[in-house]
């Protein structure tokens, strides 16, 4: 807008009292907020510098021995400069500036001793080693407000310290390991390994774990009895191994801590609600068994692999929720033991192979099945987000209040009742079978039940390629069949508690008049907490088809280009993230394996073209 002198100024939505006859903006675009103005007037600069150093020394001795000394260091430096203006937004009217600096150094030192010998068809490869990992993270944050003179966003130019903090964190791992490989004439292969790891996330008496693995392979096609001219390769393989996992918990996971909490200028400390001493906290282990075969037939016209796996995760590390009345929020514990099993198949087929025309495709298909087989006595079950961990269930199974539908008489949202004798909000609905269902309009009396799983029946990818003369057309499709997504974004777009804000067009289907049969409850500002609550209502089939990319290229004929001394020329055009089809338009349910949607930028659609020349 222009002021009396013709100068441009921002309409911040608060011109109600300006005499210009413009009302203040209502909610959803509140006065005093302005996305464009804030983006223009604020500044943010994020810089990251990364450097790596690697050094390796090999010493060969006694013919078959090799000693290797490796050292590596990774440095990362990040700085975030952030200024918020004095005119509009969170920084107004004082103006404020933040500087966040963090640096991280990861140092790995390893010593390896290797023995390698081949004799009479036998091949032996032995390795023993020691490794240490040492990570140091430094942080420094400063935040001031009260801009003195405009044009300078450095902290000196501000008057009042809002916060000033720093931290040094350390994380260390130490490992001893060994490995043995043996093969006989490339036909029979045996491998074995044994390692011992210590991790600073666990207490001294619980931090060391011993892990091992063994594997065998048989290249059947190298056997004399299987000399078939249509068989290029056939390998049978199997392995079993145990590895330790220390993820999903903080650096000081076992320690009981008090955080700093000064009271004005008086020194203060306060119990951390997520750090209670647990010296028994130890490694989560993954025991993986797999068996499969790789094959190639008809000179590579058909090739692929097939594998069955069974992975047992023991003593899952988890921040287990505690009663709020205990003063704790979570305690780090070893919890569930669960099984993941399934098959993975990978197939490459060339349907047509001629000099001018090739049509081939890659198909990849997987299944997974998850079940909790054991819970510790101290933690027989617990609820986390939309899931509940208990024996017999899956960690991917939704634990939600069961939605029933909409009462046609008044448009109330109905849930299956937990307590059928509680009269408040109780309704009796005649179901399609003629029986009477006891339901409730109160979410707090809605019954929690397992309501299906995130896990799809099948997922995989398809990558066809067609080549005709100089043209090549290829693409990649990914897909999933079955499974459920909890569409929290849709839930918020259907939420009608407050005025203003975006809504999904499905809200047009809401109940409006007595007798309306619909699945969308009435819009009721007073009952949003019940009618739009978290429940099985927001689950939707997670099947999708994603056209990830399509590429078309053309190689110019050699005869045409050779006169310009060009050995190869190619023209191409391609598109990434071409289309995504899911049960609900616009729903991108590929975001997280937990099956819950969140606000995120969809992958950008990129269309590109170009040419390459080789001289």
């Amino acid at each position: 807008m222009l002021d009396a002198n013709g100068q441009r100024f921002w309409d911040l939505g608060n011109l109600g009292s300006s005499g210009l006859g413009i009302p203040n903006r209502p909610s959803g675009g509140f006065a005093g907020r302005h996305t464009l103005a804030e983006t223009t007037l604020n500044s943010q600069l994020f810089t990251r510098t990364v450097a790596s150093v690697r050094s390796s020394t090999d010493l060969f001795f006694l013919k078959n021995f090799k000693f290797t000394n490796n050292a590596s260091a990774d440095f990362q430096y990040q700085q975030n400069n952030n200024f918020e203006n004095t005119v509009v937004g969170d920084g107004a009217p004082a103006g404020r500036s933040r500087r966040q600096v963090s640096s991280s150094v990861g140092l790995i030192l390893s010593q390896l001793l290797n023995f390698n010998k081949e004799f009479g068809g036998h091949g032996v490869d032995l390795l023993a080693g020691h490794e240490s990992y040492n990570q140091r993270d430094n942080d420094l944050n400063g935040f001031k407000q009260g801009l003195s003179l405009s044009g300078n966003t450095e902290l000196n130019n501000f008057t009042t310290i809002n916060s000033l903090t720093s931290a040094l964190d350390r994380y260390t791992i130490e490992s001893y390991f060994s490995r043995a490989n043996y093969n006989y004439r490339g036909k029979y292969i045996l491998t074995g390994s044994l390692r011992r790891d210590g991790n600073s996330r666990f207490a001294s008496e619980s931090r060391w774990g011993t892990f091992w693995s063994a594997g065998a392979g048989w290249n059947i096609d190298k056997e004399k009895f299987l000399e078939l001219n249509w068989l290029d390769q056939l390998k049978l393989r199997s392995s079993y191994g145990v590895v330790g996992v220390a993820d999903g918990i903080g650096f000081y996971a076992y320690q009981g801590l008090y955080g700093f909490a000064n009271n004005a200028n008086e020194p203060g400390i306060v119990q951390s609600q997520t750090a209670f001493l647990n010296r028994e906290l130890s490694w989560e282990t993954n025991e993986q068994f797999d068996i499969g075969f790789d094959f190639s037939l008809f000179k590579g016209r058909i090739s692929g692999s097939f594998e069955y796996y069974n992975r047992l995760s023991r003593d899952l590390l988890f921040e287990v929720p505690q009663p709020l009345s205990s003063g704790a929020l979570t305690v780090n514990q070893n919890t569930a033991t669960m099984v993941n099993k399934g098959i993975e198949a990978n197939l490459d087929i060339e349907f047509i192979r001629s000099s001018d025309f090739v049509f081939s495709t890659n198909i990849n298909v997987s299944t997974v099945n998850n079940e909790i087989t054991k819970m510790p006595e101290t933690v027989p079950e617990f609820v986390t987000g939309t899931k509940k961990y208990s024996v017999g269930a899956s960690i991917f199974e939704y634990w939600l209040r069961t939605y029933y539908g909409v009462d046609p008489s008044d448009g109330a949202a109905l849930y299956v009742s937990a307590n059928k004798t509680s009269a408040t909000g109780r309704r009796f609905i005649t179901n399609s079978a003629g029986g009477i269902d006891t339901v409730t309009t109160l979410i707090a009396n809605g019954k929690f039940e397992y309501n299906g799983s995130v896990i799809p029946d099948l997922y995989g990818s398809l990558a066809p390629t067609i080549t005709f003369k100089g043209f090549t057309l290829s693409g990649l499709l990914t897909f999933q069949l079955g499974g459920l997504t909890y569409d929290g974004l849709y839930q918020s777009l259907m939420s009608t508690s407050n005025y203003g804000g975006a809504l999904h067009t499905d809200i047009l289907k809401r109940w409006q008049n007595e007798g309306d049969v619909t699945d969308v409850p009435r819009m009721d500002a007073g009952r949003g907490a019940d009618f739009n609550a978290t429940s099985s209502r927001w689950l939707i089939d997670a099947s999708f088809l994603n056209i990830r990319n399509i590429n078309l290229s053309y190689s110019l004929p050699k005869g045409l280009i050779s006169k310009w001394k060009i050995s190869g020329a190619q023209v191409f055009v391609g598109a990434e993230n071409v289309a995504f089809f899911s049960k609900r338009k616009g729903m991108n349910n590929q975001q997280a394996f937990s099956g819950v949607t969140s606000n995120a930028y969809p992958p950008a659609r990129v269309i590109s073209g170009g040419f390459t020349l080789n001289f």
Partner: protein, 493 residues
């Protein structure tokens, strides 16, 4: 040659077994200390006590969750006297205005409040149960234990008032109260009867009063500590809720002992400093406490520049304001037209607009949080005496306060219910925004009645009446507690 070879081998072996030092895997944070350090000395225990003072006003999970100051706003929003005047303004905290947040098991604010009080109890228990064995001067141990006991009593009191059915003197009060946590355990505890909870509260308070005798608060945040006056103030509030009129009057008088009422100049200065002589207990905030958009003043002040306050300034119940005498300084805390309110840049002006609370500036929501003032103690004494039939005593206690607020005031000659009504009216205007209205209605078994208040908007409040004794007076236990504590029985829906 051989020698080189072997010495070389020895070097390799040495390198190989040059395992790191034993301490290599012992790492400790720099932003926290070991829990055991809290009881290593009385000096450390003092720090743990200061931490409790701090979590009275620190930020929790979301904006508007700033400890007891915020809780006071929530409880007052559930009464008649805080008005959201603009239909298109911010709907921040509207779940309390509509009587929804406390009855929605998934509500983040409900969870936060329940968590807040038990967090204090858990920290208090560490000190109460461990301080006797902590090395240091005996006098320090008494002060620390006394304050921790008072905190534990107060936190249980706040919980039982909200989650339990009201205390009814003369009945056995066997109705379900709240879990009583006297030592820390991760095992879910069942609810204890309302009577038992109050018995323990009084026991803790009596012990605290004994231990805190002679203690003089010191330091830059002195008033955030609990001394005998504060503990007696707790006792007065508890006794009033238990309808134990005699004890309430005695404790209230003891609580304001040596505390002066503020003058009319201080009264209109914004209710934001612990230096105010009338404050018995309050949280002290300083600039680098990072209050931003979450603090008490970010949700109740007239002048802080946040979307919440710019677009939805707080106003007072118009009927209540009109009833205040024109010569009463308290009338100046709200502006009938909004014209004199120091609104933030672009802030709305509305009728009956609040200017009682002022934050440090429009760009800083820093401000000390009032938690107990002498005025409340005069009002407790007056109410307790009036309800027990001591009209003269009640009139005198009330006048001791009113004469300072209104120079033209004369001592009330009302008796009986009229006197009680006059005292309750004074309570509403004196303590507006300080968190008493919901619990006053509940302890007195009164209905919520917002009818006839012209500036309440039906579209915003949605609820005008809640009958006395309705199940909605009991707060629901949050889903996170039900998930983790199998011993909890939910309140009737």
């Amino acid at each position: 040659m051989k020698i080189t070879k072997y010495s070389f081998l020895a070097l390799i072996v040495a390198l190989f077994f040059s395992a790191c030092e034993k301490e290599f895997l012992d790492t400790f944070p720099t932003t926290a200390v070991a829990a055991t350090d809290a009881l290593a000395s009385t000096q450390n225990a003092y720090a743990a006590l200061n931490g409790m003072h701090r979590i009275m006003y620190t930020q929790y999970d979301a904006q508007g969750q700033a400890g007891e100051g915020s809780n006071n706003i929530f409880r007052d929003l559930m009464g008649e006297d805080i008005v959201y005047p603009l239909a298109s303004g911010s709907t921040g905290l509207i779940g309390f205005l509509r009587w929804q947040s406390h009855r929605n098991v998934n509500d983040g604010f409900l969870r936060y409040m329940y968590r807040f009080y038990y967090r204090l109890i858990s920290n208090a228990n560490v000190l109460i149960n461990g301080i006797d064995a902590t090395p240091g001067p005996e006098a320090d141990r008494k002060i620390i234990k006394g304050q921790a006991l008072a905190y534990r009593a107060w936190a249980h009191f706040q919980l039982v008032q909200l989650w339990g059915k009201r205390y009814n003197a003369g009945s056995p009060n066997t109705q379900e109260g709240v879990p009583l946590l006297l030592s820390n355990t991760l095992e879910g505890q069942a609810r204890t009867s309302v009577e038992e909870v109050y018995t323990q509260i009084n026991k803790d308070l009596d012990e605290a009063i004994t231990l805190l005798a002679g203690y003089t608060r010191a330091g830059t945040a002195a008033k955030s500590n609990i001394n005998v006056n504060v503990a007696q103030g707790f006792k007065a509030r508890v006794a009033l809720t238990q309808q134990n009129w005699a004890a309430a009057a005695t404790a209230a008088a003891a609580s304001r002992q040596g505390v002066a009422l503020m003058d009319t100049t201080a009264y209109v200065a914004g209710f934001n400093t612990v230096n105010n002589p009338e404050w018995i207990w309050g949280s002290r905030q300083i600039d680098d406490h990072n209050t931003f958009f979450y603090s008490y003043f970010a949700y109740i002040s007239a002048n802080f520049n946040s979307t919440v306050l710019r677009t939805q300034p707080r106003a007072i119940n118009a009927t209540l304001w009109e009833a205040i005498s024109a010569s009463d300084v308290r009338k100046k805390l709200w502006d009938k037209t909004g014209a004199t309110v120091p609104v933030p840049p672009g802030g709305a002006r509305v009728p009956y607009q609040n200017k009682k609370f002022l934050s440090q500036s429009s760009s800083s929501s820093v401000g000390d949080v009032p938690l107990m003032r002498a005025a409340e103690m005069y009002l407790i004494e007056a109410e307790a005496k009036a309800r027990s039939g001591d009209n003269a005593g009640a009139q005198a206690a009330l006048f001791a306060l009113v004469k300072v607020r209104d120079r033209k005031a004369v001592q009330s000659t009302n008796t009986g219910q009229a006197l009680i009504d006059e005292i309750m009216f004074n309570r509403r205007i004196e303590l507006w925004g300080e968190g008493f209205r919901f619990t006053d209605l509940k302890r007195l078994n009164l209905p919520l009645n917002r009818n006839g208040i012209p500036n309440h908007l039906t579209a915003l409040i949605t609820v005008r009446d809640i009958p006395a004794g309705d199940p909605q007076w009991e707060w629901l236990f949050p889903q996170d507690e039900l998930n983790t504590n199998k011993a909890i029985v939910q309140n009737p829906l």
